[in-house]
């Protein structure tokens, strides 16, 4: 587990700490197609 944390831990912690408060989660995410045009360009 320590080895796994050494490999992936720093990036996962950076993801937790990232300031993404202004980023919306795509409400109707469907990976079979492009994001809906109703979904704005990633951020508020």
């Amino acid at each position: 587990m320590r080895v796994a944390d050494g490999v992936y831990g720093p990036q996962l912690r950076a993801l937790v700490d990232a300031d993404l408060a202004a980023t919306w989660v795509e409400p109707d995410l469907d990976p079979s197609r492009a994001p809906s045009s109703r979904f704005p360009a990633g951020t508020e």
């Binding site: 944390d5 993801l15 989660v25 079979s32 197609r33």
Partner: protein, 445 residues
Amino acid sequence: MSHPQDLSLREQAAAVATGELDPGELLDATFARIEERDAALNSVVVRFPDEARRMLSEAPRGPLHGVPVVVKDMFRLPWYAPTDGAPGEAAPAGESAVYRRLRDAGAVIAGIGQCHFWGAGSTGHISAWGPCGNPWNPAHCAGGSSGGSASAVGARLVAAAVGTDGGGSVRLPAAYCGVTGMKVTFGAIETDGYTHGYSDMGAIGPLCRDAADARLFCEVLTGRALNRGDGRPLRVGVARDPWWANLDPEIERACDAAIDAAGWERVELSLAGAEHQQAAALVCLTVQSLPMLRPEDLADADPVLRALTKFELTMTPVIVYQAARIRSLLRRAAADAFTRCDVLAWPTVPAPAPPIENPTVELPSGRAPADPGNLRQTGMGNLTGMPGISVPVGLHSSGLPMALQLQGPWGEEARLFDAAEHLEEATGREFVQADPFTAPARSST
């Protein structure tokens, strides 16, 4: 005639259709080739001489009439329960959508391709079936998790194999083994009967020796025509950070040279959220797979996978939501990028296939396990759902293949095949025609 498995998929199909090649003799020759070459590789871990002959006797005159293929150990077959490369059954025997597509095309399933344990790794060195060797050097990894499918095609045991790709598992072994592998747009190939069909990261895809074969096989698997166009006048998006950073220098040069050889217009760009895409891919894969694990699965798991799973169980709801935000950001960024370019291009893997005994790679940042760097190169395709293809572009000084990955807008598989065919032509088809068992570059160390 040379050995029939030295023919391409389309040549085999045409020769059977015209009567030039007897499909029974083709099947016998295929099993003989597997017997001859696979002892050192362990790519086709279950063989179906009886079921294949029964399929052949009932095969319709479809586009792959009488042509033997291999499928990864993740699909239900009427006579076979897939294992995901772990002990025991991952799903009961039955009909998968892939089986029905192959059967209706007249193809013959010759066997099962080795799979990394649970499909949870990019090297193929951990599996209940044992490790799978690389056709260019059996002491090196074939890749994963569709390593058996890639190795079998690379070794010319069959001309086509089916793989699956939840985090790069078609494209990565294709790159390691010097074959062409396509991850289709999410959902473009039906996932019914695919053991990871619960995931919205996973897609199915063809592995073949070149793009024209992969196009034909993809048409069979998707059930739709992927008409040939012109792959020359393309704008290629090059996003340096992070996908062109921390690479083996020979791979970086080979991929750069391939783009130059193709004569494509380069568009330098950056994608918002890219710095977190590797972590987001790991989180999304984990969140979707952990609930599927039964307690007994963990108890029986390989120690490495068990340790990784315990680590993954420490993930918090906060990181899951952060990953969802990054996924959304990346999808929007990719859609925006495709208004400026036709395809995105970066190396499929950062370094050539590592040794089975020590699956680490040498990068400018130092020696590291192969998995994280591989996921960095391919996770974007799974997060966004867009299609991607890995195309051989050279041989490393170690004697192992190198590959360029091209990704396109959702539903544009045909564009990627066009681009890959043009790239092959621009590089003289040298790297898709090489037979590792006869090529002078093959290493034995």
